[in-house]
């Protein structure tokens, strides 16, 4: 009864079952990720078309980029461990890994800014050549999306100490889908920029 009323309050007093609410948030996040996918697909095709021009020059990214990549993968893995902790109702490991995941996520963002600074010290700016333009724009957009994810994760982490479990369930599930997706998207961006 208690749980039930919690769900109802959450949704503005309209009646929903728990399953409905869970299904709803899953649909919502996947539809959103679909549009994110289409956004980066559009950039990929632009990249391929633009690369055919004669003025194309590959830039060499600062090595910190690879460190950042490891940090982000670490963050994603740590979230997997947190999820496992949650499944086993192991509060301590859940919270520890969740906090670690947030910290690594923030670390990644800071690392990305360092990467930009280093690149610009080498004299490579946004308009320097088309590859550098794509580099800044794609990493910047990814960073913005990631920032949203970090905020959701931090918010969720703070709530693990207070909010009721039903609400947390959705928030946590949705933000971890998003977070893993962002890690995958990062690898994809690296692939487009430096392998393709």
């Amino acid at each position: 009864m208690n749980q039930h009323s919690a769900v109802r309050r959450d949704l503005g007093g309209l009646e929903f079952s728990r399953e409905q609410a869970a299904f709803r948030s899953t649909i919502g996040i996947w539809m959103f990720l679909t549009t994110v996918t289409m956004l980066f697909a559009a950039f990929t095709s632009s990249y391929i078309i633009r690369r055919a021009s004669a003025d194309w020059q590959e830039i060499v990214p600062p090595p910190i980029l690879w460190l950042n990549t490891l940090v982000l993968i670490g963050s994603s893995s740590s979230l997997v461990l947190a999820q496992r902790g949650l499944r086993r109702s192991h509060a301590v490991s859940f919270r520890t890994y969740l906090v670690l995941s947030c910290l690594l996520g923030i670390g990644f963002l800071i690392g990305q800014i360092v990467c930009w600074v280093q690149l610009s010290r080498q004299g490579i700016f946004l308009p320097t050549n088309p590859h550098s333009s794509f580099f800044y724009i794609l990493t910047g957009l990814h960073g913005l999306h990631l920032l949203g994810g970090v905020m959701a994760l931090v918010y969720g982490t703070m709530k693990t100490w207070s909010a009721d479990s039903v609400r947390m369930d959705h928030l946590f599930r949705v933000s971890s889908i998003y977070w893993h997706f962002m890690a995958g998207l990062w690898l994809y961006i690296l692939f487009v920029l430096f392998v393709l």
Binding site: H4, S5, R8, R9, L11, G12, G13, L14, E15, Q20, F23, R24, I27, G28, M31, F32, T34, T35, V36, M38, L39, A41, A42, F43, S45, S46, I49, R50, S53, A54, D55, W56, L126, P127, P130, S133, I137, L141
Partner: protein, 590 residues
């Protein structure tokens, strides 16, 4: 646990602000969108009238207009670059800020929960946010007329280099920047709306409302929302790159060696065609995002006035899905003359001709839905019939354009303008009117005047054909679109009188819309009271009060036992059997 299903009114939040301004109630949000569309339609319509004035009377001066636009109309004479701003803003506002708002956001928000048996949308807060994101977008668009250089002038398609080089034409400066920002807000808002539609339709249907029992309005909204979510990101990406080209020196769309005002630009290596591809990857699906809901409303309105089921429900649903898929791969038909590889052109031609098949199937289903019915020519029905007429006429023109060979001649002529106004202007607008006359009683609890409605219809239909069929012939005669004056071309002299007919028709059309506005606001106050189900229709919204309370139904949400087109069942007590009628009382056909 029955108490758990009793409605709680927590988000009405009694105050005026919570109830009407920052409301999270889907009905209020739908009506907000609707009224916003009305305001934007007045603005965009006024721009169109100015264009028509210029084209019909190129040598006149208009001192009054100078007061409003001192720069664009200096000395009362329209400047060519101001004409370009008019074209651009008219198109942008009508497509995104009028038709999208009224049809997709307005009717969508109002009808989805009511027709699927839900208390509200899946994310009411997001819904409110989506409305309040477009308010600044509207203001930015309107404000752009009054900034230095005036409003954007690169067409609603914003082709570079006009849109990419800040000093190309006056409107390429501030106006274009505001245009891009407003469009970005629009996309954000539309994305929120789309997520809401899909999630709501998938998860909030009442008991018994299977997908194949959804009214076709809902199907079209569902597919339109998915299409928008898939297509708009291409424009987002393009807009981001364009902003960087404009303000941060990148060269995505700007080629090497471009001269503006005798100065060579520093950009190199970009390609304006990239923009065209990205824009039309959105642009073509977008026209279906607008078209499909108009057809959906029409398909739902017709059965109520023929008293027989809609014809070919399954075929229509399948066709909608096929259209959705195909519409993502035909964008190249807007670029036949861009110098693309002829084989690629052939691919886009074939795709375009393929998409006419499911479109024609829906058109035939519309016509077959009339067959053998006892047709009642109410105003909503007249407008629904108008939709069929305009859809047929516009589609006919589309076939000539879809063929790369004839399009080489017709491209960028008034033929194209005529074609797309039948579709994106006519089908959608007549769909909106049909929907308004039909659902007005549900929205506001009163009926609109039938007599004024019929005058509105006949004047609109006749003048619509006057305008846009006329434009088809102008195009065949070779008149190019977007020119601000045709007095200099001897080959166009034979069709000067046609320009006049188009302009006069446009005045008649505008006057007809005044009748509509009068009817709307008069009926709001003085219309005769509507009961729950004034049209004796079957769908769920007609089981709610007119207007429905917060949460839509007092007491339980209705349960559904049948599909929405149960008219004239042989054994049923009435000639309509609402979706809520249990099988015990009347046979279930679907």
């Amino acid at each position: 646990m029955a108490t758990a299903h009793v409605l709680e009114h927590t988000h009405t939040a009694g105050s005026f602000l919570g109830r009407y301004i920052f409301s999270q109630d889907h009905k209020v949000i739908g009506i907000q969108y609707f009224l916003t569309a009305m305001v934007m339609a007045l603005v965009a319509g006024f721009l169109a009238i100015m264009m028509r004035l210029q084209l019909a009377f190129p040598n006149e001066t208009w001192p009054l207009l100078e007061k409003l636009f001192p720069l664009g109309m200096e000395g009362g004479v329209m400047k060519p670059e101001f004409y370009l701003s008019l074209v651009t803003m008219h198109g942008t506002l009508m497509v995104f800020f009028v038709i999208s708002f009224a049809l997709v956001s307005g009717f969508g928000n109002f009808l989805i929960p009511l027709q699927i048996g839900a208390r509200d949308m899946a994310y009411p807060f997001l819904n409110m946010l989506s409305y309040w994101t477009i308010v600044p977008a509207c203001l930015l668009m309107i404000a752009s007329f009054f900034v230095e250089g005036g409003a954007a002038a690169a067409g609603w398609t914003a082709y570079p280099p006009l849109s990419a080089v800040q000093n190309a034409v006056p409107g390429s400066g501030w106006g274009q920047t505001l245009w891009l920002l407003a469009m970005a807000l629009f996309i954000v808002s539309f994305t929120m709306g789309g997520l809401n539609y899909v999630a709501t339709i998938l998860t909030h249907r009442t008991q018994g409302m299977s997908m194949m029992r959804l009214p076709l309005t809902i199907w079209t909204m569902f597919i339109a929302a998915i299409l928008a979510l898939l297509a708009f990101p291409a424009l987002t990406a393009a807009a981001i790159m364009l902003l960087f080209d404009r303000h941060f020196g990148t060269s995505f769309f700007l080629p090497s060696g471009l001269y503006i005002g005798e100065q060579v630009l520093p950009h190199q290596g970009g390609t304006p065609l990239l923009w065209q591809h990205l824009f039309w990857f959105l642009g073509h699906p977008e026209v279906y995002v607008l078209l499909l809901p108009a057809l959906g409303l029409t398909l739902d309105i017709i059965p109520a006035f023929t008293r027989k089921p809609v014809f070919g429900y399954r075929v229509t649903v399948t066709s909608l899905l096929v259209i959705a898929v195909l519409s993502l791969i035909v964008w190249g038909h807007h670029m036949f003359v861009s110098g693309m590889n002829p084989y690629l052109g052939e691919f886009f031609s074939i795709g375009t001709l393929l998409i006419t098949l499911p479109s024609a199937a829906i058109g035939l289903n519309l016509i077959a839905s009339l067959w053998g019915g006892s047709v009642r020519l109410t105003t909503p029905m007249l407008f629904a019939l108008g939709v069929i007429a305009l859809f047929g006429t516009g589609g006919l023109g589309g076939i000539f354009l879809g063929n790369a060979v004839s399009d080489v001649y017709l491209h960028d002529s008034y033929f194209v303008v005529g074609h797309f106004h039948f579709m994106i202007g006519g089908v959608t607008l007549f769909g909106i009117f049909a929907g308004t006359y039909y659902w007005f009683p549900k929205m506001f609890g009163r009926m609109m005047s039938e007599r004024l409605g019929k005058i509105h219809f006949w004047l609109s239909l006749a003048s619509f054909y006057g305008m846009f069929l006329g434009m088809h012939f102008l195009g065949l005669a070779g008149a190019p679109r977007r020119y601000y004056s045709f007095t200099q071309f001897s080959f166009l002299e034979p069709v000067v009188s046609l320009q006049l007919i188009v302009t006069i028709s446009s005045f008649v059309f505008a006057a007809a819309q005044v009748i509509f506005l009068l009817n709307f606001f008069y009926s709001l106050k003085k219309g005769s009271k509507a009961d729950k189900n004034p049209w004796n229709a079957t769908t769920l919204e007609w089981t709610a009060d007119s207007p429905p309370p917060h949460g839509n139904w007092n007491g339980e949400v209705p349960r559904v036992y049948r599909w929405p087109y149960e008219y004239s069942l042989p054994d049923a007590p009435q000639d309509f059997t609402p979706q809520t009628t249990p099988p015990a009382e009347a046979k279930v056909t679907m």
